[in-house]
Amino acid sequence: MADISTDFLGIKSPNPFWLASAPPTDKFINVVRAFEAGWGGVVWKTLGSQVKNVSSRYSSVNYGGKRMMGFNNIELISDRPLDINLKEILEVVKMFPDRAMIVSLMADNDRKSWHDLIMKCEDAGAMGFELNFGCPHGMTERGMGAAVGQDPEIAKMVVEWVMEKATIPVITKLTPNVHSVVPTARAAVEGGTNALSLINTIQSVTGVDLDTLVPNPYVAGKSVFGGYCGPAVKPIALKMLTTVAQDPVASRVPVSGIGGVSTWKDAVEFMLLGATSVQVCTAAMTHGFRIVEDMCEGLNNWMDEKGYEKTTDFIGKSVEKITHWEDLDINFHHIAKINQDKCIHCGLCYIACEDTSHQSINVERGNPYNNYTIKEEECVGCNLCKLVCPVDECITMEEHRVAPEYVNWKDWQAQGLPLNDH
């Protein structure tokens, strides 16, 4: 059995699955249920000055009959009094001393407010703080949340204020609502943060009601931009995580990965791209806390299969595999192959290739079933046919190198090799 326990800045958790700062971590009852279900840690919903929420608060994007492919919210930080939250945190920490308890914070944008908030929260028994520099709605208008994370200078300043007082590890949570997360990540590291977490939610409009013409979520005939998360944002989160993992400054500190993590596979991908732990919210809000069981079992089985004994054996292993386009091997070429025994003659590969790609699939009309084969000389190896094929392993990509040697774009230009092969 692999060891899936996690050590994040000395904060130990039995597994790398934490619940992100969000509605599921707002109260004693939720967090106790989460820990009973087996979650390795939680980031308690952001504490700060007293706020008031509206109704409704969530909306989602369904796709192909599947609900909650994407999810957004317009909820603010915890709207419960600070002292109640702190009392409950203390209680939970006593009940579950082996779990990671991080408290998310967001203070008014001045040094004293941050100092006061940290001093109030230090005694709650939490093992670390997470600075909410990412909340994209409600708080930004007050100069907080993403308003901080979107400006590296301000972010650095706030981190410095925090580090003056904090005696427990500090994680800075980054907003994705920027052209690159790296400047803020660097600024936070330079300001002294002990770790980073990313991504927060992405500003969004999930849809418009075609009867009322009011976008979602609906609040008395109006809506606002909400923070988008869930499976839909995972690819964006992975990209941003990679840019942090590849940056020499930002990568000095550990990262907690967030953004559409729904399964153990998603978690492994985040970890391969540099995350030490992962944080989950939408998947739990869709299915409840029980999903952590399979996350632990799946991770364990995968690690056993691959021979990894502990998570640090594979964390970050894929970071170096994302390179620059101009370093890719131009002589690498692969060609689609349709396994005729597996083909169900749905024609999806054909019409995708014919209408939108490279006209590289032959059709031999039949009644009722057509036969489809690859025009090998036309195929550019784009993968589209394989991606749309509903049968697993029916279309495979077979390697046919153009030449044995590695040649990248820079070499190609330097050697004056021909550009146009049409």
């Binding site: 009959g65 003659h345 024609g347």
Partner: protein
């Protein structure tokens, strides 16, 4: 043993004749199924539909909640799409061709989805087609069955005024009179006829029989063209001794009575033999059982490999408790006081292939006897040979002979459906009606004229 009616309670009749293919209970259920469709290109389901309904398109339209579009897609190809969703042997047509079968997965429930869209359209009386301005042309159609109605609707869309002469008092043809009551109700059939004719320009004259109330000659004189869609007649004779005995029934007549009367009024034997293994034989056998017969046996002279009905239909009969005897041909019906008491059958064996390519059954010399009080004949239907010949139509064993899908040997007279093909599915008749209408329109307006229904419903190159 005797033939009698009123064998069951009202509740039992109701339960036995309830819809065998219930609809989706909720829109969500339809959505889940619609989203399962892969949206194939040049789809095998569409190619397997005699009317070429663009199945993936209409299913996609259910998934996008464009139900009006979905119903339009269906009705554009098949104006009886609602009825077909209930009576089509989809297991050998669209659903049988669904690529999920090749993955050993349950095929998409196409018929059920089609019913979902078309029922919505009928319930809301969505008018999905607009008549072109009147052309002043008038066409007479004989028979308000699937072929006649389909032809009429297609012609009406082109601005042609249609008069249908129907010998029964209701439209729908075999849909109304010849199909098991647990598949379609009389009310549905009536609604469907009304929905089809609601486009306007179609006048159905009921209780008007060709040769009795109206003649081909007079129609040719009074209309710009005539379309024959009078279907087929009674069941094929067995030509064996005892066929005249009381208790020997014609399956078509049996089902006709059943569809026209209260179930409790329909007399059925206690022990019933049904001759044949086509769809009508199955419908007769299962309904005899559902009317309260204690013992129903289907007798077929060939084997399961050659049977005309689908396996799905056979299973309905089996689940109803009908017995099946393969390789048995009726030899003689014996009676007692003029009433059926026994059916004597030859045991058959398979010989060389016949003209249909199927191995033909030959007498083995052995016989067996079934104790029965009712024999239902369902070994194919007879064309209206006399009617066809009396009107000087070229014929093919009594069926109207046509060239180019719909042209008879008489100018301005066209034909299609069962009276031409000898008796096939409703969906085949609908396509025949479309073909007939196309031929008529081109005859009236020129060969280059393109009908609305000929415009490709989708880009499928």
């Amino acid at each position: 043993m005797s033939i009698k009616n009123n064998r069951l309670t009202t509740a039992e009749y109701e339960e036995n004749f309830t819809d065998i293919h219930p609809p989706f209970e909720t829109p969500d259920a339809a959505l889940v199924e619609a989203n399962r469709c892969l949206f194939c290109y040049d789809p095998p389901c569409m190619k397997s539909c005699p009317t070429s309904i663009n199945v993936p398109k209409f299913i996609k339209q259910i998934a996008t909640e464009n139900l009006k579009g979905s119903a339009h897609t269906i009705f554009s190809s098949n104006i009886m799409g609602a009825g077909c969703s209930k009576v089509c042997p989809v297991e050998k047509l669209c659903e049988g061709a669904c690529v999920y079968n090749l993955m050993h997965e349950t095929p998409i429930h196409i018929a059920k989805l089609q019913r979902y869209s078309t029922e919505k359209a009928m319930d809301n009386n969505w008018q999905l087609f607009e008549r072109k301005p009147s052309t002043g042309k008038r066409v007479a159609i004989i028979g308000a069955g699937p072929a006649g109605l389909s032809c009429a609707h297609t012609l009406s869309r082109e601005g042609i005024d249609v008069t249908i002469y129907e010998k029964e008092s209701k439209g729908g043809g075999l849909m109304t009179y010849g199909i098991a009551a647990y598949k379609v109700t009389p009310e549905f059939c009536e609604d469907e006829v009304n929905y089809i004719t609601s486009i306007g320009g179609i006048d159905i004259k009921y209780n008007q029989e060709l040769g009795k109330n109206v003649t081909v000659e007079e129609l040719k004189r009074n209309y710009d063209a005539v379309y024959l869609a009078f279907g087929v007649g009674l069941a094929r004779q067995l030509d064996i001794a005892g066929e005249h005995l009381e208790g020997v029934e014609d399956a078509i007549k049996f089902i006709y009575e059943l569809r026209n009367n209260d179930y409790s009024k329909i007399a059925v034997g206690d022990k019933v033999a049904v001759i044949g293994m086509g769809m009508t034989a199955i419908d007769a056998a299962t309904q005899a059982k559902r009317l309260g017969a204690s013992d129903v046996t289907l007798v077929y002279r060939r084997t399961q490999d050659e049977m005309p009905c689908t396996e799905h239909e056979l299973n309905i009969a089996k689940l109803d408790g009908c017995k099946i005897i393969w390789l048995a041909a009726p030899k003689e019906i014996k009676g007692d006081n003029g009433k059926v008491s026994q059916l004597v059958c030859d045991v058959m064996k398979l010989g060389d292939p016949d003209e249909s390519g199927r191995r033909s059954p030959v007498v083995s010399g052995e016989t067996f006897t079934l104790e029965v009080d009712m024999v239902i004949k369902a070994a194919g239907q007879m064309p209206f040979e006399t009617l066809v010949k009396n009107n000087s139509f070229e014929n093919n064993k009594g069926k109207v002979a046509v060239t180019d899908k719909a042209l008879t040997n008489q100018e301005g007279v066209f034909a299609g459906g069962d009276c031409v093909n000898g008796g096939r599915e409703v969906v085949d008749a609908v396509q025949a009606g479309k073909d007939g209408a196309a031929a008529i329109v081109k005859y009236l307006f020129g060969q280059d004229y393109i009908l609305d229904c000929e415009l490709k419903p989708t880009f499928n190159n």
